[in-house]
Symmetry: C2
Subunit: 357 residues, 2 copies
Amino acid sequence: MLYEINEKAIQLENQGKRIIKFNLGDPDLPTPPEIVEAAYNAMKQGKTKYSSAAGEKKLREELARIHGVSLDNVVVTTGSKWAIFSLMFLLLRKGENVVVPSPHWTSYELGAKKVGAELRFLKRNLESDWKVEPKNLEALIDDKTRLLILNSPNNPTSKVIDDKTFGEIVSIAKSKGVKILSDEVYSDISFVKAKSILDFGEDNILVNGFSKSFLMTGWRIGYAIVEKELAKRMIKLNQITTTCVPAFIQYGALKGLESRKKIADDIRRQYKLRADAAYSVLSKSKMQFSRPDAPFYLFPKVEGLDSERFALDLLDRGVAVAPGTAFGDYREYFRIALTVGENKIREGLGKLCEALP
Amino acid sequence: MLYEINEKAIQLENQGKRIIKFNLGDPDLPTPPEIVEAAYNAMKQGKTKYSSAAGEKKLREELARIHGVSLDNVVVTTGSKWAIFSLMFLLLRKGENVVVPSPHWTSYELGAKKVGAELRFLKRNLESDWKVEPKNLEALIDDKTRLLILNSPNNPTSKVIDDKTFGEIVSIAKSKGVKILSDEVYSDISFVKAKSILDFGEDNILVNGFSKSFLMTGWRIGYAIVEKELAKRMIKLNQITTTCVPAFIQYGALKGLESRKKIADDIRRQYKLRADAAYSVLSKSKMQFSRPDAPFYLFPKVEGLDSERFALDLLDRGVAVAPGTAFGDYREYFRIALTVGENKIREGLGKLCEALP
């Protein structure tokens, strides 16, 4: 229902209606101008031809350096979403399954279903502050489990898995022979330090992107860090599907990496202010929610709420949110993406509180 | 072996060796500057956010107008290759098959195999000027055939299917209930007029791209014209895989469409000169080949040649070509892409003639 809400929001906007959009994880902040200029310069220098399906060497080298891996472990992809889908396509067969802590990003579920795999969700709850319980995770794994997807900081809860739990999960996966795909797209801008899967060796898979931490959502560039043989398979799949990420986009991303810390610090600071503003408005309401560890989301609960109906009704009041059902079995919840300015946050959340049943 | 030759050519270049590259269909001509500027302006105007998985409305409208279809029939894709792969992914199941006249573009074969479908090639030959014989095509179709792929003008032969034959093939496919996927990426710049699948109604699938006819190979933008229900399925698949083509790239492409005729005329004129130059050099050799109907390729035959060995040996002389085995069962053939300037064509083809066994 995530996409339906968005399509309806766009329709209403096209009819001239003003909508405060909390429904998408697409930051309002512009792509840093140095990235735009670097991409433009690359275009003018003729970086407009087919390029390597693995990614531009310079970008891969820089990513390898940042993550402490070798060039052969890095595959540049058409967004982190394509990295995830292509890994599912390559690693999962019909009858096999993938274990995912829920609530979860919609695309894991849709992607896995599309390649014919079964999904097994570890249901977490707000009451335990969204903790991933390793023992419960272990109970879901069987001999048909091929992947365990972690996403810390998490979309939609904005919670980070604590270091001890992360380590326990890695041990369990290892002992069961299951690969972890760790989607860390919110890590660089997290309010609290988040562990990376690479902190636990190189057996597993890191997926990351430039969308969130470099404000490049619409540029479609991400990457995976994987063992060399799997990297080769991903590159071959790129060759027959997406071919390559446009080279000029890769040079834009490379420029971004030069100011990686500064850009991330700026984003973090702005989103911390927004999170605090939202927190102060929502604290006065009857909603239950946990304090976010990272941008961009809040995932509040209202007892007895039908969030799909609520989201549709709320659109008529000029506010778009994503119903909790888009992230698993969470009908009483909805996701607020703080991807608008502070004034709009106060206005939109005010309207939202008024609309609560 | 297409990709292996290219990787080796790049390696040699990195070692400082000069290679005349006839091996890829990547024109040396730069992307027209008005396209680059339009993309840059769109970036600066903030067209850097997530956009519709169907494509930007303005671009779809213009493509719909050009092809005389409705907006709902148009899906913008991450290159025409992604359109083709995603259609195969959506339409083909294990045990089903796809019929393709051969020699054929490598990606049809690799894509179909990747989704588990069987390939049935209609073997054509130089002696009959690469004619697609409808009766022979019909004989390959059975109740497990889901797609028939046409590619006119064709890569690697540069031959256009004549109007009468095209009509007969459409009738056969219709009577057998098989959908045609018509890849027309070379149509706009063809030396001779080529029929479009849309000239025969809207039951089938047109795939086209901006790579060849707008010199935008590395930009990764193409599109499909399909019936509405299939368009919806493609859009849903985009949502969970590539998300969207960067909006600023779409505005670059839209600018290109404004000067569509002029850009195509320029490309056609330059490539006609190159084709004539190549023709005159090769006519003096013992190679057999047919006159190209379109850019960019020649597909000559040398009796008894092992083109894989020949292509590897030729690399050491500083010339890269693609062995015929990359396009089907054509070991005695190789593909020359005329994607370098006239002087280099004469020099490279001279070396090539010297190297012939």
